[in-house]
Structure formats: C-alpha cells, structure tokens
C-alpha cells in the first residue's frame, strides 16, 4: 500500500481546499501587483473566486455523437455528469455512480465504458457515442428496433445502458449463445426484470446479420 500518501499533516480531504486557497491568493496578489486600485472591488465581486474557478478547469476536446466539443471542465467531473449536467445529453442514465449498474454505459472509441467511473478529462480527443447518437437520423439502430419489438424494458431507465452494452456485446463477439449474452450483459442491471426480453432482442439482432 502506498503509505507515503497518508501524510498526517495534510489530510487528503483538505487538499482541494488548500490548492484553491492558494489559487485564490495568487490571483488576488496578481491583481494587487498590477492595479492595486480595484482590489476592493474585485473582492466584492468575488473575482478571485471566478479566477480560481477558471484556473481549476482543464481544456477538453471531445467528439460526442459526431459533434465536436471544446470544453473547460473540472478534473473531478465524470464523463457521466458532463453529459447529463453540462451538455444535457440525459439519455445516459445515472443508476449508482459507482460502476455497479451499467445505466451510464456509453461507447468511447467503440468500447463500452461506465461513464460514471470515467473522468471526463481522461477522454481528451476521444470519440464518445451515447444513446442519442445511435440512430441514424429518424432510422433507429436495429438494436433499438429489437428492444421495442421484444419489449426489452418497462420503466425504460436502464434501457439506454442496456442498448449501448448490447451493441458492444455483439461487436465484441460475446453474443454467440443465450448463456454468453447473459454473462456479458450482467453489468447492466434491470430492476424491472426485462432480462429475458433483452436477451431475445440481442439474439435477434445477432442472428439478423445486420451491421451493428
């Protein structure tokens, strides 16, 4: 275990706060050095706060569903929260935030990942596909069609994650039998219990031979 990280004088909890205080002080000091006049005004308007916030953000380039984004994000922002809270791509769902349910599954460079376990800044330059980017215009992806046909959902909340995972499951070559599908889809929980219908949908798409 990395004992050296456990520094008793600087508890991990306070780390962010310390860095922020440092940033804020630096920004105020810089302002002070340049133009001492407006400092009072700066403090009143909480400019130091804004400057510090700007320092804390990291530039990030992403391609999401074919659209290019140039963003500034906090390093602690997950890909899931970036999608849902900042970009309003709410098709990707939060079911646990701990990598336990699969509701947040998206494709990053074609691989399925739990976007809640992925910091947005780690995906710089990557291609992200969410449920909103799966259909081609009005034409649904065959997996989406199959989910509707086989009633592979009830409440629909796990569904975007199930579908993204299902597409990847076939692409990975892990959809060769019912048993294999069940095994490789087990990271996607459906509390409504639509599992047999989901498996039927995946089998139909797999056996239908369409391009996924």
């Amino acid at each position: 275990m990395a004992q050296e990280n456990l520094n008793p004088t600087a508890p991990a909890d306070d780390h962010d706060e310390a860095r922020r205080t440092f940033l804020k002080q630096t920004s105020v000091l810089t302002a002070l050095a340049l133009t001492p006049g407006p400092v009072v005004q700066a403090a009143a308007a909480q400019w130091d706060e804004k400057v510090a916030a700007a320092f804390e953000k990291v530039p990030l380039k992403l391609d999401i569903n074919g659209k290019k984004y140039r963003l500034q994000v906090e390093p602690r922002t997950t890909l899931l929260d970036l999608l849902r809270e900042q970009l309003h791509l709410t098709g990707t769902k939060k079911g646990c935030d701990y990598g336990q349910c699969g509701a947040c599954t998206v494709h990053v460079d074609g691989q399925r990942v739990n976007s809640c376990l992925t910091l947005a800044v780690m995906q710089d330059g990557r291609k992200v596909t969410t449920i909103e980017g799966l259909a081609e215009g009005d034409k649904l992806h065959p997996m989406q069609e199959a989910f509707i046909k086989h009633d592979g959902f009830q409440c629909g909340y796990c569904t975007p994650g199930q579908i993204m995972s299902a597409v990847a499951c076939i692409r990975e070559g892990h959809a060769n039998s019912e048993g294999e599908i069940r095994e490789y889809m087990s990271g996607n929980i459906c509390r409504c219990g639509a599992y047999p219908n989901i498996v039927a949908a995946i089998q139909e798409v797999k056996n239908g031979g369409q391009k996924v």
Binding site: D13, D16, E17, R20, A52, A53, E74, R76, T77, D81, R84, E85, H88, L89, T90, G91, T92, K93, K94, G95, C96, D97, Y98, Q100, C101, A103, T130, I131, E132, A135, L140, Q144, I148, K149, D151, F153, Q154, C155, G156, Y157, C158, T159, P160, I163, I181, R182, E183, S186, G187, N188, I189, R191, C192, G193, A194, Y195, P196, N197, I198, V199
Partner: protein
C-alpha cells in the same frame, strides 16, 4: 349511468408495442432529474451518523465558504414549513404517525437522516461542500435489532381505532383450531428488509415559480397525492402546486410516500430562489425512501391424514419506524386461500430506530405468501402428498373469509397450465433424489393472490380537428405500460386506430386519478378511459343529428375522420360538420368512473401460481433457477406483450427476494452494511432464467367493465416460496430465512 362494457375488442388483447417505446430506446424520455430549467442549481444532502439522539451543534461555516455554494440549510436556519407545525392528521394514508419533518428540530430518528442540504452552482461543488459540514451529537442508545425487540410488537393503532380494520386479530372457527388435527406442523419464517432499488435514483427538481406557486418534477407514483401533500405542507391552494412525473424510472412502491429529501429540495429552492435539483445517492436509497420491512412469521398448520386442512394459525410481526406506523396485509392470503375451517391470524408491528418502510411490490402479501406457501409445501411433504394435489384438495370455490362468491377464480386452470409447462411430472416425491452430475434438481410451486382493487378516476377526452383523440388523466406509469394499455382500450371504445390516440399522464393538472399502486391502474383508469370515450361518442351522436339517434354507444365508430355507425354504412357525419355543430371547438368531455355495488356482493381477487425449476450445487450450495413458469388469472389481458413483461419482471423480482436480497444491519451503529448494488445483490442477467407466462385471459366484468383484475403484485406473490420449495425438493433442506444464500445450504 350503467357502465358500458368493452365490446368487440380488436386493439385490446393485441401484442401492441409500447406507445413510448421510441422515446425510451432513444434516450428522449425525460425523467424527473432531466428537465433543463434556467438557473438550475444542485443540492446534496448531509445525513446523520447516529441513529438516535440530538444534534448538539452543526458547523456549516466551511461549507458555506466553499466555492459555488449558495446555501447550507439545517434545522437551525431552515424556513418554517407551515404544515410541519400543524397538528398531525392521523387519518392520512399511508401511515399513521408523523412523517419525518426534515430540518424541523434537532432530533435524530434514524441513521443517515437528512440533517443539512448544501446548494451550489454545480453538482461537484455541492458534493464537495456537503463533506465539510461538521456535526456534534448527543447520542442516545438506539434499537435497531429486530430479534432483541420482538416482544415489543404491538397491534397497529388503525386496528385499535377501527374494529373493522383488516389488521385486527382474526379467528374463524376455533382459535388455534389446527391443534386438534392428527397431522401438525409449526414453523417460523424470517426475511430481512429489502430495498426497492429502482434503477432511477430518487430525484426531484423543485421550482418556486412565484412565492406561492410551486412546481416539482418528482419521482412519485401519485401526482395528485403529492400535490395534496405539498399544498398542505406549504399552506397553499392545491392548484398552486404542480407535480410532473411523465416518466418514472421504476419505483415498485417507493414512490407511494413523500420522503424527506423532497421537502429538503423544496426548502432549498425557497431559500435560494432558484430551481433546485436533488438526486439521492445509491446509499441514500437504502436509508430514507422506504423498504420492504424485515418480518418474522410463525405458521402452525393442522391437517387430516387424507390431506384436508383443519386449521392454520399465522402470526406476523413487521418492522416499522419509531415515528410512523407502517402496515401491510401479510396475513390476508391465509384467511381466504384455502378451505380450512379454523383460521387464526395475528398481525403486529415493531417500531425501531430506522426510517419508515413502504409497500414494496406484492407488498405484505408477498411476505405472507412466503410463510403460508412454504408451510403448505411442508405439510404436503409430511402427508406424503404432491403439493399440487394437496392444494387442490383444499381448493375453495367461495371466499371462506367473507362468505361470498368470488367474482371469478380460475386458479385451477393456472395449476394445470403451469404444471404442464414446467414439467411437474419430473418432480420426485422424495427430496434430494434427482441429480445431474454435481447438481441437485428440484421443482416447487407457490400460489399468490391480491385484491382486484378499483378506485375512482377521471379522464378528459378531446376530439381534435385532425381526427385524433387526446386523453389525459393524472395517473403515472412506473413501467407497466399504462399509456399503451389506455390507448388500446380507447381504440376499441372509439372504433379508432390506436395511432390516432394519445394518452397523457403524470401531471397533476390533469383530471384526478389515484396513485399507481396495488395493481389497480387499468381497473381504475382504464374504466374511466372507457367511460370518457363512451361519453365522447354520445356527444358526437347528439351533434351528428337524426341519422345517429337511438344508436347504442358501441355501434358508433370514429374511423376515417368521421362518425359512423356499425349497423348502417350509409350513416356518416364528417368531423368538420360535427365541429361546426360544436361552434368550431374541439369536442371534449371529462368523465368519472367509479366501482359499482358488485363489490359488496362478491369477493374480488387476482390469482397466480408460480412454478420453479432449480439446480443446487451439491458441494457449494449455489442455487440456479433454471426455469420459471408464471400463470395468472388476472381477468382480461389488455396487452399480452406488456402484461407478459410484468409477469416476467415479477418472477425475477421474486428470484431476488428468494436468493439475493437482504439488507444487513450493523446494530452497533444502527446502519446498514449493505448499502449499494455491490453489497446488496439484485438479480442480474446471469440470474434470470427463461420465464414462461400463461394467462387465463377470461374477463371479470364484475371488477370493471374491461374485465381486468390486476397483474403487478401477483407477478411476485408466491415466487419466493416456489423457489424455496424447489430447493427443498432438490436438497431436502428446508430454509425458512430469506434470502437463501449458499451458506444456508452447505
């Protein structure tokens, strides 16, 4: 007006795909946390770390100073919620007592009780700041251990106040009459608390659109009930509170009560004067939004040697909180399922320092069926009888509890269909004797029943200029496919193609409907859809003039943008003409439907039987459910596809109840050890076998004019005992404590 029965169904019974399917598979369906309101800010709750006592001090300074924080609200600075101070109204469902008043005072009733809410401009900042709140407590000793407190179980207040309450003690024939039987058994059954754990986290956006006008986007099963509750809390006229729940990401009962986080968000929105979004964490889903309560049961049973039940005694103690009396119908099935001359039931509740439970799918009936249907299996084994045969020998064609005829009961048809489909003939009478390699194979069955309830609802029906019909009602859809079923009913009622009909729900401004609970939505709201469509046609009939006079409503059609008559192809009135007669307006009705007096004369229940095939590993005790067959006598099946999905979902929920689910309490802290989906197992794909569904599909028009009886609950009631009984058949080991984990089998 006498209710018009649903005739001539073409759409009803069809395997129509869901009307909202496209929205759900494209990510376009909007759940409660997904409304993009301008100036929206984020709230994160801070929970107590003791289970009982008082808050001595709460230091919020660091949190307030943290970047982006707009407010930190605790009992010290929270604005007063007018309704909190008012005298409690003990008649309010669902519980007697006082729901937790968030931030009202310094008292702690359970561990992780919300004690502060932090509001910030981003979620990350709110979450960070929430970690900076420091609290000092004056802790008091807490009681969270069920076994240690069992003796304190008491008769619920509602039973004490009302001698007619079904929660009262019940004796038919001789009290404890089972004792006189030649063959007797007695056993105790226990299950741990189970969490609903819908995939959507409990979420709310609270928005004060004016100082006296509140809108909430809330994950609830009752938009009208929620509207009433918040209007009362904030001393507002009901119409000033708007509740939106267009899509609900599962609930299974936990949206049938309003919880502290909802009011915390409303308070936060008031303080910051911004729309506030609050999404619980998965851990918080275990501590403050209800659960199926831990329950202890004792069943004693007596029978003659030829397999006739002499008597059953069923006692039950269910857990509740220290501040609300939660009750459920755990002993009901014992009173009416079998033709036993002597039946005694006792129901008690036990208040502990834990938050309040709430009905979880199948609620108490599923709990009770685990004990009753396990005991039936045990008795059949003692008598050396096939458990199916034993049930048939004690079948009853009238309700022995109420002495009334059943409205309909096709349970025997279910038995037969299920036995054939599971391959019941392969079942060995001698447990532990069917083996495939290292796997022991067993078969089991369990029966379920639930009241075919029906309430009062209103539906608005509007015929628009383009010939389409819009229907609205303030019901919700937590997953069963309510909108789809309603469109099918309306299509048949109007003689109109389903794609011309739209059903809107989940909005408290729509005509009133009860909560989506107790398997009664189609019975209740479906009947109102039928009534509204009938009235709409009658209105058109009047507008259509002489050609339509005297025609019965079911002879009128709306196809092809005109009013027509089934019996006379020549009678036609164009929509444009009808509108002209209506001063150019949309033609609109709002109609109420309520149950009739057949309810007094008949006993109305849905019935189910579940068959399970299991394989138990002889060395490791691992249990695999390899096949399930679920059969239901649920009246008319409006949609075979979505109804089938409900049955499958219930069966899989029942697998969780039987094998996986149980929240374990660390009594030292009064806190659950199992607190997320890694510690608390729910069934995943790999746990879910093929589930074959059979519906009798015979209408019960005494329940409602469509003939439905309800599916959601019976889909799970009886599943857990079917699996427990199959495990006994496979191994010869009788496990009476759920969940049946491998350690209990080796």
């Amino acid at each position: 007006m006498k209710e018009q029965l649903l005739q001539d169904g073409k759409a009803v019974g069809d395997r129509m795909s869901r009307v909202d399917g496209r929205l759900k598979v494209t990510g376009a369906a909007t759940y409660s946390a997904e409304y993009a309101l301008p100036n929206l800010v984020h709230a994160v709750l801070v929970g107590s770390t003791i289970a009982k006592g008082r808050i001595r001090s709460i230091d919020t300074k660091a949190a307030e100073r943290a970047p982006g924080v707009l407010a930190v609200i605790t009992h010290v600075n929270s604005p007063k919620v007018p309704g909190f101070a008012a005298k409690q109204n003990p008649d309010e469902p669902p519980t007697i007592g006082q729901p937790l008043r968030v931030f009202y005072d310094d008292k702690i009733y359970f561990n992780d009780q919300p004690i502060a809410v932090v509001v910030a401009d981003t979620l990350e900042r709110a979450r960070y700041a929430a970690g900076l709140v420091k609290t000092q407590y004056a802790a008091e000793p807490h009681q969270t251990n069920f076994e240690a407190n069992k003796a304190r179980g008491f008769l619920p207040t509602q039973a004490k106040r009302n001698p007619k309450s079904p929660q009262n003690d019940y004796d038919r024939g001789q009290k404890d009459g089972y004792q006189s039987a030649p063959v007797k058994l007695e056993a105790e059954y226990v299950h741990e608390s189970e969490m609903h754990n819908p995939m959507e986290l409990q979420s709310i956006i609270a928005h004060w659109e004016a100082p006296d006008r509140l809108t909430v986007y809330d994950k609830v099963q009752a938009v009208k009930g929620t509207q009433r509750a918040f209007a009362k809390d904030w001393a507002l006229p009901e119409e000033n509170v708007k509740v939106i729940a267009t899509f609900v990401g599962g609930a299974f009962g936990n949206g049938l009560h309003n919880w502290p986080h909802e009011t915390a968000a409303i308070i936060a929105a008031k303080v910051t004067n911004r729309p506030v979004k609050l999404v619980l964490t998965r851990e918080q889903m275990f501590t403050m939004v209800g659960y199926r309560p831990k329950t202890w049961q004792r069943v004693a049973m007596g029978a003659t040697r030829d397999g006739k039940l002499v008597g059953i005694t069923h006692e039950c103690i269910g857990q509740t909180s220290s501040y609300e009396e939660f009750t459920e119908s755990s002993v009901q099935q014992t009173r009416m399922m079998y033709a036993a001359p002597n039946v005694s039931t006792r129901y008690r509740i036990l208040g502990l320092d834990i938050s309040t439970p709430i009905w979880m799918r199948g609620p108490g009936e599923a709990t009770g069926a685990f004990a009753l249907e396990s005991a039936i299996d045990e008795m059949a084994h003692l008598l050396n009888l096939d458990p199916l045969e034993f049930r048939l020998r004690n079948h009853t064609d009238t309700d022995p509890e109420k002495n009334k005829p059943w409205s309909t009961k096709y349970l025997k048809e279910c038995f037969q269909a299920g036995a054939e489909r599971i391959g019941w003939s392969k079942r060995r009478m001698q447990p532990g004797t069917l083996r495939e390699g290292d796997w022991l194979v067993g078969y089991g069955m369990g029966v379920g029943t639930f009241g075919a309830n029906r309430g009062v609802a209103k539906v608005r029906a509007v015929l628009r200029a383009d010939g389409s019909v819009l229907l609205q009602s303030a019901t919700t859809d937590i997953g069963p496919g309510t909108g789809t079923a309603m469109v099918q009913i309306a299509a048949d009622a109007l003689g109109l193609s389903p794609d011309k009909i739209r059903f809107e729900l989940g909005n408290s401004t729509f005509p009133t409907a009860p909560s989506q609970g107790g398997s009664s939505t189609v019975n209740t709201v479906g009947s109102a859809v039928l009534a509204a469509c009938t009235e709409l046609k009658q209105k058109l009939q009047q507008l259509g003039g002489a050609a339509f006079a005297g025609a019965a409503p079911d002879q009128l059609t709306l196809a092809g943008g005109q009013l027509g008559l089934r019996t006379n192809a020549a009678a036609k009135a164009s929509l444009a003409d009808l509108r002209k007669q209506n001063n150019g307006q949309d033609i609109e009705v709002t109609t109420e439907a309520k149950p009739g007096d057949a309810r007094q004369k008949y006993s109305m229940y849905s019935f189910s039987v579940h068959f399970a095939e299991v394989r138990v590993h002889a060395l490791t005790g691992e249990v695999r459910v390899t096949k399930m067959v679920s059969c239901a006598d649920a009246g008319t099946i409006v949609n075979q596809k979505t109804a089938g999905s409900q049955m499958i979902g219930g069966a899989i929920g029942g697998i969780g109840m039987a094998l996986h689910e149980g929240a374990l309490m660390d009594d030292r802290f009064g806190r659950y050890v199992t607190k997320d989906l890694a510690d608390y197992h729910v069934p995943v794909h790999a746990d879910a076998p093929p589930v074959e569904v059979f519906f009798v599909n015979k209408p019960d028009t005494l329940v409602d004019p469509i003939g439905t009886k309800g599916i959601g609950e019976i889909a799970i009631i009886g599943v857990a005992p079917a699996i427990a009984n199959a495990i006994f058949n496979a191994t010869g080991k009788r496990v009476r404590e759920l969940p049946i984990t491998p350690d209990k089998l080796i």
